[in-house]
Amino acid sequence: MSEIVILGGGPAGYVAASHAAAHGARVTLVDPKPLGGTCLNQGCIPTKALVESCGLLEKLKRADAFGLQIDGQVAGDWMAMNRRAASIIAMLGQGIERLMQDRRVTCLRGYGSFIDDRTIRVGDEVLRPDRVLICTGSVPLTGQQLNVDHDVIGTSDDLLRWETLPASLMIVGSGVIACEFAFILSSLGVDVTLLASGSRLMSWADREVSAVMQREMRKRDIRVALNCRIQSLTHTAGGVSALAGGQIVCSAERALVAIGRRPNTAGLGLENAGVLTNGMGEIVVDDVLRTNVAGIYAAGDVNGRSGLAHAASAQAKLAIDHMLGRSFEPISDRAIPVAVFTSPEIAWVGRTEEEAVADGIAVATGKFDLRGLGRAHAIGEISGFAKVIVDRSSGELVGLHIIGPHAGEMVHEGALVIQRRGKAAELFNTVHAHPTMSEGILEAVEDALGQATHKPLSAARREAHVL
């Protein structure tokens, strides 16, 4: 029986443990913290609980438009919302622990550290497994000049621990975390300013998606400063000031630093095992998640290949399959969907229009405004669109980009087609239920292939595309 030690119990580590144990391996899962990792405890799950509270709050603010009368005030209660998130975390965390018991996975609470390439110490215990999977995740990036003190200037980890909200908040960054928190906190009445170093928000998303999100921020009075490279944050009597280009560009009561995350490898003793890392500390791995050291694999954020929980889980399963000599399908990073829980939601899979053009693909694009759908009006959320990128020569679907309600649920039909390198026409030939938001995808494909049913002839998309 194969003995496997897994370092880190997040979406890579616990999924790997479950998978390996289910297939006969003897597994030890090592994590100093509650299982579930950043995703469950400080990331995806608590923020989604908050997003849901804020979404409901936003809807209640418009209750009269839905024919509802509310007597009295509707207001967000930050601590109550966090208690709800905490109870969800506790429930799901117990679920993971029960799963580990069910699989007879040995869970060790502690920091695992390599003594050499075959030996790991966890507290007083010394383990000599056949294989090791490193899944220690990532931690928020902070620059020394940003003076993070956790109370006034904090990262996302800190913000979720704040017991009160500030009247005003500056967010340094323009990625997923920055944008999600901008909407959450704005809903709760915080005066939010987003300081983005680039020329647009979420720079790796589709350009048109970024533009709609920025417009939605403007609607909510979230201020956005683009091309704003913050040199430093300093504490002032009133809170925090941000310096860029030698000038104070923003002052607020508190600041959230959301400039990215870095691999969490501190204290792992990688040097004792001889495991190679790259510039940001990410562990170098091959297609099957092997490091340069025989028997040692790394999956999830720690290898820098993706920052997504579901990508981490997929990598972890593949690594285990390879360790156990099981058959597996390679992971195509192109087919991994991304979901961002801003308001409206954003989701995409595959290439953006620019990436496709840069890759030398002759593309046809199709787009459909979701406000053309009955369901969007019934939901009362009409902003956004679905857009498809199609390879004109092969008809292959190369990208699906959605901004709008339920985008995160809608994206998977695109992921399925892209994963199997299918044609856009497969979506076109699939009857979509009415009335649903997913009809927008159908219309976008129709638009790319010729003419969307519910789009004026005058607005038909140009067939060729030159950027």
């Binding site: 417009r215 403007r218 609607k219 405004d369 406000r371 053309g372 009006h377 009409i382 902003s383």
Partner: protein
């Protein structure tokens, strides 16, 4: 469809009107034809004061229940002022597109360019009236 196309204004073919207020300065807005096409306007995304645009460039967008449309700059120049009243009451574009629903005030870089705009009668035939 009856449409109000005042003859004392100039028009860009992408449906913004231009009113010369003083030498080198213009007010711009959305034509009655365009606001009728849009239907109930919910949000107008305006540029910032100080932004500069070439004629034909996208200077903002207008959202109605039916569509999101780009606003195309009718002239080349700098934005001097925006109609802040549209924030919260975007419906002014529907109610009074040539008055309280104006979009922005711009300084025109080249006054000669104003001659390229359409007259009321030319715009009327452009929109098929």
């Amino acid at each position: 469809m009856s449409c109000n196309v005042p003859d004392d204004l100039a028009y860009h073919r992408d449906h913004l009107w231009v009113r010369v207020t003083e030498a080198g300065e213009v007010h711009i807005g959305i034509s009655d034809f365009a606001q009728r096409q849009l239907g109930t306007v919910m949000f107008v995304e305006l540029p910032s004061v100080g932004d500069e645009f070439e004629a034909g460039a996208i200077l903002g967008s207008v959202e109605s229940f039916k569509v999101v449309s780009d606003l195309i700059a009718p002239v080349t120049g700098e934005v001097l002022e925006i109609n802040t009243a549209l924030k919260g009451t975007a419906g002014l574009v529907n109610e009074d597109c040539y008055g309280a629903g104006w979009l922005a005030k711009m300084r025109v870089r080249d006054e000669g360019q104003l001659a390229d705009l359409l007259s009321g009668s030319t715009y009327r035939s452009h929109i098929g009236l």
